[in-house]
């Protein structure tokens, strides 16, 4: 169904495509096909028939004619992210990858276009946003992590300068060799500008591999950050994702895990912290395609001011996926009268010998708990902050990498004192 709202914008993206997809582009054919899909799907601005996005107001996405980097004056030198302390860091500035470090890292093999199945895990047909990224990424970062990889972690830092009305489409494709264990940290530092960033990360976990994936999104009140993570798990593999996202003006953490190998396991956790008038969508899907797989989804939200968040989680158990064990939980703390959460955990089960659990809650800070804390001499604001921090810590403490966890903790501690809880 076409949900593109106006022809003027359609023409804008058509022009953009003509400028960017050159005949020499190695991914030219893939991009052209992706653009066709994008035209069919459009941006998800219409509420009708649009289950994933219907609770959010995305109309601002089509009010602006976002441009790609080539249209703008290059301002690379103006921007220097203050996250250079992260070692083993791949820097993605304005959607463009600086992959120099990759060639110097042992255990990383950069993949050529014919060695990868780009779009094999992240399906363009699933959402117009993914198709948008597939149409406009500039230079995808594709590599394999082999058994020679011997670093504590691999950091990927997304940042950008403050030149506004820009479309960033970073694209990554990572394959993890059999038996390899790796920690991948993904840090998004949003510029203070109206930048629409749609990032797509595809990870294939080969047999017996293990990935700890930590994501921190430091949003700005202007940025629009849409993160799509698509995972394919083979036999005996383990994937854990812990994310922390604070308040881009508009954004999404969209994760889909396909469990394609027996005895594979995934554990997905996240905290969304929305302030001001930000809107944030958490969409998590786990497809259990084969027997003997296990998954967990545990998400929490802290919503303040007039912000709005949506959680939609899904556990899909295919007919053959017997002995699946899957759990899903979403807990929300509403800190103001104007905040709103729409939470929708769901199960779709076609096998008959499975154990699946789901649940969701939304509530305010418990008055009895506040009374208890204040009766020890702690004033109301401080007590509330301690409670909120405690609520957040249950997720944040799961970020496996200590130095990376610190980034999330510092961010929360920076935001908390500035908030007023009604």
């Amino acid at each position: 169904m076409k949900v593109f709202p106006n022809i003027e914008n359609l023409q804008h993206y058509q022009d953009l495509k003509d400028q960017t997809v050159k005949s020499s582009d190695k991914f030219g054919e893939f991009k052209r096909q992706s653009f066709k899909t994008f035209l069919e799907k459009g941006l998800p601005v219409s509420g009708k028939g649009n289950e994933r996005w219907k609770y959010l107001d995305l109309r601002s996405l089509v009010k602006t004619k976002y441009k790609l980097l080539e249209d703008l004056n290059k301002t690379d030198n103006k921007f220097s992210p203050d996250v250079i302390f992260l070692q083993n860091a791949i820097s993605i500035v304005n959607g463009q990858v600086d992959s120099k470090i990759l060639s110097s890292m042992k255990g990383i093999k950069v993949l050529e276009v014919d060695e990868i199945d780009i779009g094999g895990v992240a399906d363009n047909n699933e959402d117009g946003m993914i198709a948008l990224n597939s149409s406009f990424f500039i230079e995808p970062l594709c590599f394999r992590i082999t058994e020679d990889f011997n670093y504590a972690n691999l950091n990927i830092v997304f940042s950008g300068d403050s030149e506004g009305q820009r479309l960033d489409c970073p694209r990554l494709f990572i394959e993890i060799d059999s038996g390899v264990e790796v920690t991948i940290n993904e840090l998004h530092v949003s510029p203070s500008a109206d930048v629409l960033k749609v990032s797509v990360l595809e990870i294939i976990l080969q047999e017996g591999s293990k990935v700890l994936h930590n994501i921190v999104v430091n949003g700005s009140k202007y940025s629009k950050d849409f993160l799509f993570t698509r995972i394919s798990q083979n036999k005996n593999s383990y994937f854990k994702s812990v994310s922390y996202s604070d308040a881009p003006s508009l954004g999404a953490n969209d994760i889909k895990v396909c469990m394609n190998g027996e005895y594979s396991e995934c554990d997905l956790r996240g905290l969304y912290f929305t302030t001001g008038s930000s809107q944030f969508n958490t969409h998590v899907v786990v497809d259990h395609n084969v027997p003997y797989t296990k998954s967990n989804q545990f998400y929490k939200g802290i919503l303040t001011d007039n912000s709005r968040a949506v959680f939609s989680g899904k556990i899909l158990v295919k007919r053959d996926a017997q002995k699946t064990y899957a759990t899903q939980k979403d807990l929300n703390l509403l800190m103001s009268k104007g905040a709103e959460i729409d939470t929708k955990p769901s199960l779709e089960i076609y096998a008959d010998d499975v154990e699946c659990f789901h649940g969701a809650t939304a509530g305010h800070v418990d008055e009895n708990t506040l009374y208890y804390m204040m009766s020890r001499g702690i004033d109301k604001d401080r007590a509330t902050q301690i409670l909120v921090r405690g609520f957040a810590d249950e997720i944040i403490n799961d970020i496996s990498d200590k130095s990376f966890r610190k980034i999330a903790v510092e961010q929360i501690d920076k935001i908390l004192p500035s908030l007023s809880f009604q």
């Binding site: 020890r376 001499g377 004033d379 007590a383 921090r389």
Partner: protein, 213 residues
């Protein structure tokens, strides 16, 4: 002391400042303060402490962190500097040992998964840390085993001096075997119907509350 529904818990909660109670008239003088005009935390910093009958479980908040915040608030209001982490930990560990709480238990979130008895011990531990001028113990003895009861009694006796008061709500004689009260009051339907010394407890044990109503 008093029968169920007599107003004992209401009294201590009103003293501590629970917001679900509204006072229509009167005042509560405590030292030079009228408690009614003070918030819950101000009362606490002025020296009022309540050991809860049903302490809250607080996920994600560690007991150490919670008590450090409480102690810091108290010291700040007294114009004293905050304890260093080291100094605070020393006092914390020593009190923990004295009340007999396993330090492993305190690595959990506050009261999270604590047994009834462990929660009560933790209340008394907090009282030992904060050294209140007026401690309100709301049925702290219920659900305690013999050893825990003794530990609570010892903690109260240790703090007990001519600068501190304890208001102990109880149904039973057994805590009073460890803590000899100066006064015993019987509260029925929100009114003190009889006051006396520890001998009054014996009378209640033998003939119940009916003779007072």
């Amino acid at each position: 002391m008093g029968p169920n529904g007599g107003g004992k818990s209401t009294l201590v909660n009103v003293l501590a400042g629970r917001s679900s109670y509204t006072l229509d008239s009167g005042r509560i003088d405590f030292e030079s303060n009228n408690l009614i005009s003070m918030t819950i935390d101000e009362r606490a910093r002025a020296g009022v402490f309540m050991a809860f009958q049903y302490p809250s479980e607080i996920p994600g908040v560690r007991p150490w962190q919670f008590l450090k915040a409480a102690t810091d608030s108290h010291r700040k209001s007294e114009g004293l500097p905050e304890y260093s982490v080291r100094d605070f930990s020393k006092i914390y560990d020593s009190n923990l040992k004295e009340i007999g709480i396993d330090s492993e238990l305190m690595k959990r979130s506050l009261n999270d998964g604590f047994s009834g008895g462990e929660k009560k011990r933790n209340e008394i531990f907090q009282m030992m840390m904060l050294k209140p001028k007026l401690a309100l113990l709301d049925e702290t003895d219920s659900g305690l085993d013999v050893d825990a009861l003794k530990a609570v009694g010892n903690a109260v006796n240790k703090l007990r001096d001519d600068r501190r008061s304890f208001l102990i709500v109880t149904h039973y004689q057994r805590l009073l075997d460890h803590v000899k009260p100066d006064f015993v009051h019987i509260l029925i339907d929100g009114k003190i119907v009889e006051s006396g010394n520890h001998k009054l407890v014996k009378k209640i044990e033998s003939s119940g509350y009916e003779s007072f109503s």
